[in-house]
Amino acid sequence: MDFGFTISKPRSIEPTEAGREQLLQLEEQVPTFRRCMNCGGCTATCSAGQFTDFNIRKVHNLYRWGQYKELDEELQKCMLCGKCTLVCPRGVNLRSLIIHLRKALNKDHQPGDYQHFIRNNNR
């Protein structure tokens, strides 16, 4: 039955809880990430962003607050061309950030899982 209104879910994020551990880990892997001041230069210049609504700044901000939904698929639009890293006025290593974000978000990805061949073929 439709009463003409719905009860909305709480939309607030608890910053001290959501994704805190993951964020700290990411910041450790990509220390320059802490320097971001959200100027949007990266999104403006983004090669993929010229074709589709990919917004790298939004993606990493969502990650900051532990909002992981669909972020991995979003990140796969990146072509890793490096323009964002080149224009960033704070010197954030965005290419490294993107790869580390994808590693963190990809459930199937185990660190070093691509080395199986080497282990099997050793010597």
Binding site: C39, G40, A44, T45, N55, P89
Partner: protein, 347 residues
């Protein structure tokens, strides 16, 4: 003593607002002062401006007042004279100029000021490549001439300002804020609107720093009375459109949406860098600080002093500074130098 050598109690290097103000203040106290300016004119950086923030007073009037004050004093002024090196021997400073002449002084005031950032180093913004891209200095002379036109010589439909060009930028190595560009941009935006009320004016910023008296009010005025649109985002590249306008790419970070828009003029708010003279003389005396600026003893009680005896600093050779701060700083330097001379001469 040869005729190529001059002597003074104080040598002031740099004939901008800081140099002139300090020289006049010292001279009025009966101190013999020489002032050296590498350019053929005094105060060329301020002289290039049209109006000053935040009260829109005339920059050329300020320069005229300063020049008048200087010509009424006993300061010996050396225009077109660049000090290329200096050294201290037995309590005296020996300054060598570009003609090879030597000048002696008991104390030296470094007031060598700033240069504007060379916007061509940010090639992605297209300065020097697209005619529609200008710097804030270029815009100032347009405003001074009272003629604001786009590339085709028509009244511009849209003027866009971009903050922080050459400041707060890791990539070109200037991490600092140039301090005056925010309010200058607001001032210029208002001037554009006054000159051409139908022009759309956009101002792209990362942070707006309205730190001085009257600045915040100016910002409000720009929003309320002049309808200037402030966009929080950094323009990261510019390109040319087929009709010679400038296409810019930025993100409105508050919406989270990329913007791609055309504008007739893109005004780059170029920051301040240590001038060539500042860099050269500061390193010559061993007082160079970060980014090539000169380093004072302490920013609190001895901001005009350096680690070298008898070497003083004033104005934007230390850090980016507004005109009013520069003039005040020059006066405080004059007081410091007068004190120093008393002890130095009594010994």
């Amino acid at each position: 003593m040869s005729d190529r050598t001059t002597t003074a109690q104080v040598a002031v290097i740099g004939g901008g607002p800081a140099g002139i103000e300090a020289a006049c203040a010292l001279s009025n106290n009966g101190i013999r002062v020489s002032l050296f300016e590498s350019e053929p004119v005094l105060a060329h950086n301020v002289g290039n401006k049209f109006k000053l923030f935040p009260d829109f007073s005339s920059a050329s009037e300020l320069v005229a007042t300063l020049s008048h004050k200087l010509s009424g004093s006993h300061v010996s002024v050396h225009l077109d004279t660049e000090i290329v090196s200096m050294e201290q021997k037995g309590g005296l400073w020996f300054l060598t100029d570009n003609y090879g002449h030597t000048h002696e002084a008991v104390a030296v005031l470094l007031a060598t000021g700033y240069d504007v950032f060379d916007a061509r180093r940010k090639e992605e913004l297209g300065y020097g490549i697209y005619k529609g891209v200008v710097t804030s200095i270029d815009l100032e002379s347009m405003l001074k001439a009272g003629k604001l036109v786009n590339v085709l010589g028509e009244q511009p439909q849209c003027v866009t300002f971009l903050q922080c060009v050459g400041s707060r930028d890791e990539k070109i190595g200037n991490h600092y804020c140039s301090k005056v560009c925010c309010v200058t941009a607001v001032k210029q935006a208002i001037e554009v609107k006054k000159l051409s009320p139908r022009t759309d004016v956009f101002l792209f910023y990362m942070d707006l720093r309205m730190w001085g008296q009257g600045f915040e009010e100016l910002y409000r005025e720009a929003q309320e009375q002049y309808g200037i649109r402030f966009v929080r985002g950094r323009i990261s590249e510019a390109a040319s459109t087929f009709d010679d306008r400038v296409q810019i790419k930025a993100e409105d970070t508050l919406v989270g949406q990329p913007l791609k828009m055309s504008t007739d003029l893109l005004v780059l708010m170029v920051g301040m860098e240590a001038s060539c003279g500042t860099k050269k003389l500061a390193s010559c005396c061993g007082v160079e600080g970060a980014y090539g600026f000169a380093h004072s003893c302490s920013p609190y009680l001895s901001d005009n002093m350096t680690d070298r005896q008898g070497l003083f600093l004033a104005g934007s050779c230390k850090r980016p500074m507004s005109v009013s701060d520069t003039v005040n700083d020059a006066r405080s330097a004059a007081v410091g130098i007068a004190d120093y001379l008393k002890t130095a001469l009594s010994n």
